[in-house]
Amino acid sequence: MRALFAALLAVATGIALAFLLLPIAAIFLRVPPGDLVGALGHNVTRDALLVSIKTSAVAHAVVLLIGTPAAYLLARRRFRGRGVVLTLIELPLVLPPAVAGIALFAAFGRMGLLGDELDALGVQIPFTQAAVVLAVAFVESPFYFRGAIAAFEAVDGTLVDAARTLGAGPARVFARVALPLAAGGLGAASALALARGLGEFGATIIFAGSLQGVTQTLPLAIYAQFEQDFDTALAISALFIVVGALLLVTLKLYGWLRFASIFRSRFAASTSS
């Protein structure tokens, strides 16, 4: 019985990990290391890499700047229908990329909801890098939101109370207490969101098109390469995975550490009597 259960757990874990990691490992078997480096040589790759970096950076910055305070507000305030709002925020996760792309058109396209307003301002979003940024932000922000809200909710309320009795206004409380204590969680969430943003494909190709050097991000480039040079496509994919992994591991580990340290101090504090 006991042995059986232990075995069961072990097996399940084995399967799960194998299933998730095997495919990723497999790609590398398909790609000679040489190509990995070679891929970087391609000007397509370079352009795409630049576009990807540029757009993800901007999108991510925006998401952090707007998402963090928003998450803070949603985590602190208790209002009716809060649960629903928190769920709606996650809705974009459900959308198939194609639908997301269409949705973005429907909102910011020339024929879209804000089309006239934007026209009036002489702004044309679709098929520009702005469009890429929007698309990326749209798909990655729910990830950041989830994590950030959780992180802020985890901040001990009495610490906030303490800060206030010490004369700190909301802004100070946010900057000196909430932010540093949530740092770990925010870091992790940010990493995840960034990663997801880098991988964004469906919404981008529809809403922003795939213009080399303008709107063609790495994922789009990979797709485009299928038609031109298949091996390069594979190589870029592999390259991509490496980048993504590094990104996640570094930022996540950073996050873990922060969390760990904070957790430790909490633990000590709580067991100290």
Partner: protein, 342 residues
Amino acid sequence: MASLRLDLSLPLRGFDLELALEAGPETVALVGPSGAGKTSVLRAIAGLARPARGTISCGDEIWFDADRRVDRRPEERSVGFVFQEYALFPHLNVEQNVSFGGARPDRLLWRLSIEHLAKAKPSELSGGERQRVALARALARGPRVLLLDEPMAALDPHTRGKVRAELHDLLRELALPALLVTHDFEDAAALADRVGVLVEGRLRQLGAPAELLGAPADPFVAEFAGANVLEGIAESGPDGLTRFHLDGERIVYSTDEARGRAALVVYPWDVSLARRAAEDSALNHLEGEIVSLVQVGNRVRVRLPFLTAEITASSAERLALRPREVVFASFKATQARLLPAD
């Protein structure tokens, strides 16, 4: 020195907290069972909880007034708050914690003799040290009112003694209106000029520790002060005495007036024990089998089925008491107080 005035009503989960209190430059202790509303009182004063009705003012400053729609934010009331588990900022070191409010920490660290810890993180401190840091932080901005929520609870008894002494001196020195929440009557007696007993959001009694001991207002307070409380029925007895029927038809007499259901209050140290029932009509005698003997300091607490007596170790020696032996507990009718049962 400004004095703290409050008269408020705050709805809590189980009941409403109704409290009127005025405190000068003195320490007032709030004692009471868990969930009585003690912390809630402090939170209301600090502005962390909003009363439904009433007023809170410190000296000439009005902090809260439901009718006049006044409600100062916590950061605009000048209170020093020491939280139940101290709530030190885990990511800041001692110095940063103390100077969080903006004031220079040095003097306070020195006053509380924790300069050497200035650079330590809270997680590296002992309970006693944490408590001092919390105090220093609360005092850093020179508050006009001091609020302490069970500052001793997190300490183990042998540090407790020292810290209690320090805190006592500090409070005297500051001469601020200070509200001290505690579970422990001894803490209250040691630190406070006046003690308020809060039960289910109501102030049962407010007075000097000695008063509470001498004349407990109701059974709960008596019990809190360490007395035996026996339920029973009172009726008028011979020569002005009140005859009191304990549940279990034993009878004792009291000089207090009472009729009907009542509670009889006797302090353990007013109860003497003997092998034989002394022939003394002025005394109440109760026979019982010893359940346990516990030596505390130079006294022995002898627990009988219905009450506990506290006698000196020497007389316990003399009587050579052992568990399961039958003894007679006696106490004067004048020492048997009668209170309305609650």
